[in-house]
């Protein structure tokens, strides 16, 4: 029996499937590890200043480690510094932070966009118009993804962005936007989405428009569409919410004195497409109708998470 730690968690987006999965992964991993006595979770919709407050409250609560999904890489530096001074291990998940003492285990957002966009442009035959449906204007994850997208775009000079909108990562907004665009009758050969994907496929089907390749994330709804929707060619790029569980594992390793060689660990995305037979096989194997449509299907990360599917779905932490 190892030591029993208290781990603090700070998250600033609530009610979104991806973030909910992340929190559940944190709970499940904390439980599965057997090393965590108590989780102290600050989980709400707020900005960097609000996250500073939450982090300081966690410092006041004297936790041993903090797993944080930063609202902004630089904006929470002050509190992370304070945490470090108080001897608290900080692990940032999902996004990097500028505080040098913090450890980072993150999905590579730039790579996420690059991978999907590149595949999409290849599917389009290297030319034609692409609809670029971004996330929330002003969010740092969005601007990271934009870098990746632009990088891929630069490699395909004949691909043009015919329509660029911010969905705000809102399903309804995205659906109305794409339907509006379809109604204009402008030609387009592919759609790249920042993870608001299933409503886009719905819109294509409902409006009776011609099917074009669609790139989205590995959300359960979209993955099942890739398996079932007639004529849909598309790819899901993994962006596992279970990164939260990996963050807990990393934090525990550090607390136990096993510091990683690098301060930053990047989890590289995978791309699952349904254009090739192998891809189809892969997609069949990951589809999971028992998950809610907005949850990413990649509910675990090999080497980093040890919980079972039942545990993450139950979403119970230690002591619950």
């Amino acid at each position: 029996e190892g030591k029993q730690y208290t781990i603090g968690v700070s998250n600033t987006v609530q009610g979104n499937g991806w973030r909910e999965e992340m929190v559940c992964a944190i709970k499940a991993q904390a439980l599965a590890s057997g090393e965590v006595a108590k989780l102290n979770i600050a989980h709400r919709n707020t900005d960097a200043a609000g996250q500073l407050e939450d982090l300081r409250n966690l410092i006041s609560a004297k936790v041993d480690a903090i797993v944080v999904n930063p609202a902004d890489p630089a904006g929470i530096k002050a509190a992370l510094e304070e945490a470090n001074k108080a001897g608290i291990v900080v692990v940032a998940v999902d996004q990097a932070v500028t505080e040098p003492t913090a450890y980072i285990i993150s999905n590579n957002q730039e790579q996420y966009a690059y991978l999907g966009a590149k595949w999409l442009f290849q599917q389009m035959g290297g030319k034609g118009g692409v609809v670029y449906m971004r996330g929330a204007a002003g969010a740092s994850a969005d601007s990271d993804r934009d870098k990746g997208f632009k990088k891929a775009l630069a490699e395909f000079p004949d691909v043009k962005v015919v329509h660029e909108v911010f969905t705000g990562w809102q399903q309804d907004q995205a659906k109305q936007q794409i339907l509006d665009f379809i109604a204009t009758g402008s030609p387009f050969e592919g759609i790249w989405t920042s993870g608001i994907d299933n409503v886009i496929v719905d819109a294509l089907v409902e409006s009776g428009s011609k099917m074009v390749p669609v790139v989205g994330a590995d959300n359960a709804g979209f993955v099942s569409q890739l398996n079932s929707v007639e004529g849909l060619v598309g790819a899901a790029v993994t962006n596992p919410g279970s990164i939260g569980g990996a963050g807990v594992t990393l934090a525990l390793q550090i607390l136990d004195g096993k510091k990683p060689a690098e301060q930053t660990v990047l989890v590289e995305p995978e791309l699952w497409e349904n254009a090739t037979p192998e891809g189809k096989e892969k997609l069949k194997s990951v589809v999971d109708p028992s998950l809610s449509a907005e949850w990413p299907v990649s509910i675990s990360i090999p080497d980093w998470t040890t919980y079972s599917k039942e545990q993450i779905i139950a979403c119970k932490g230690p002591g619950e």
């Binding site: 204007a137 329509h163 399903q171 309804d172 659906k175 109305q176 409503v199 719905d202 809610s292 949850w295």
Partner: protein, 329 residues
């Protein structure tokens, strides 16, 4: 009552037109709506076709229903900021139960939490006299929290949207959105209630002068409780329709983006935020105006910031122009 205001025959034409519009506030609103559509058509020739109109109507309907909640509550000088939470709630509860209990039972059960929140709003605003803005903001928070907790407990069961709701939300019949089957009766009911029923009269009366209604024997609490329960029920129905349209059953922020637009639609449609004045027909046109405006801005290729600035300015412009025309002072 316009029949008594017989315009003098020699008034100049401009003035006559103005007076005509002042008596029929809907006319300038519709003109504004048409103007927006024309601008859209000029900017993207061909966009205004049957399919686009059907889409616009589809998206305007849930907004119009939620804006109906705002209209009703604003008439009494209140506001209902819990509608988006309530709509999301009914959608999520329905989707989580539909698999087990079947669609009809799920829909009925899904409307219970909205009614409870409405009751709470009504008791707070009507009996304890808490300002509705605060009351509904608070219950909205409470509702959102409960929804989160509930979601945790049903996360494993999965969600399902009954085909009927999808049909209603997204389907077309002879080019007309099926949602109109639900919306036309609702709109007719609201309009009738406001103009021809005792309850409707009371809403205007309470918003105009609460003390006077008290002296006339009106039980304020009773009216307000009924009102907020009706508002919540409408929001719940809007949520069911909306989840059929968007098909994102597990979203916990489904209708959140509709909150501010619902207030805006009611106000653009001529309902006074201070109570006593307004009506639902204006609100419907207001919802259409906002929906068209969103399209207009989506189509415009400009930086997101500029787009938002334009959105704000247009809302202001539309409301100001409308007031100018309608106010015959």
């Amino acid at each position: 009552m316009s029949e008594t205001l017989t315009a003098p025959s020699r008034a100049p034409l401009g003035r006559r037109i103005k007076r005509f519009m002042a008596d029929r506030p809907l006319v300038p609103l519709i003109i504004l709506l048409v103007a927006l559509v024309v601008i859209l058509q000029i900017m993207r020739p061909g966009i205004v076709n049957e399919r686009w109109i059907a889409n616009t109507v589809k998206f305007a309907i849930p907004l119009a229903i939620l804006a109906g909640c705002q209209t009703l509550t604003m008439l009494t000088g209140g506001i209902d900021l819990s509608v988006s939470t309530v709509a999301t709630m009914s959608a999520f509860v329905m989707a989580s139960l539909a698999g087990h209990y079947g669609a009809p039972a799920a829909i009925v059960i899904a409307l219970i939490p909205p009614l409870l929140i409405g009751l709470l709003n009504g008791v707070g605003a009507g009996i304890f006299r808490v300002h509705p803005l605060i009351m509904t903001l608070g219950t909205g928070l409470i509702g959102a929290g409960c929804l989160q907790v509930y979601q945790r407990s049903v996360i494993a069961t999965g969600t399902k949207i009954p085909d009927f709701l999808t049909w209603l939300g997204t389907g077309l019949t002879y080019g007309f959105p099926n949602a109109l089957l639900l919306f036309i009766p609702i709109a007719a009911l609201i309009i009738f209630t406001l103009s021809r029923t005792g309850f409707g009269r009371l809403l205007y009366a309470v918003g105009d002068n609460e003390k006077a209604t008290r002296l006339s024997g009106v039980l304020y609490g009773q009216v307000i409780i009924a009102l907020y329960m009706a508002s919540s029920l409408l929001a719940g129905v809007a949520g069911l329709l909306y989840v059929g349209l968007i098909k994102a059953p597990s979203s916990l922020s489904l209708a959140e983006p509709l909150l501010l637009p619902s207030v805006a639609a009611a106000v653009v449609g001529g309902t006074s935020i201070f109570g006593g004045r307004g009506g639902y027909t204006g609100t419907i046109v207001g919802a259409l105006i906002l929906t068209v405006l969103t399209t207009l801005l989506t189509i415009l290729q400009m930086p997101e910031g500029a787009r938002r600035i334009l959105f704000g300015l247009i809302i202001l412009l539309v409301t100001a122009a409308y007031l100018r025309i309608v106010e015959d002072r």
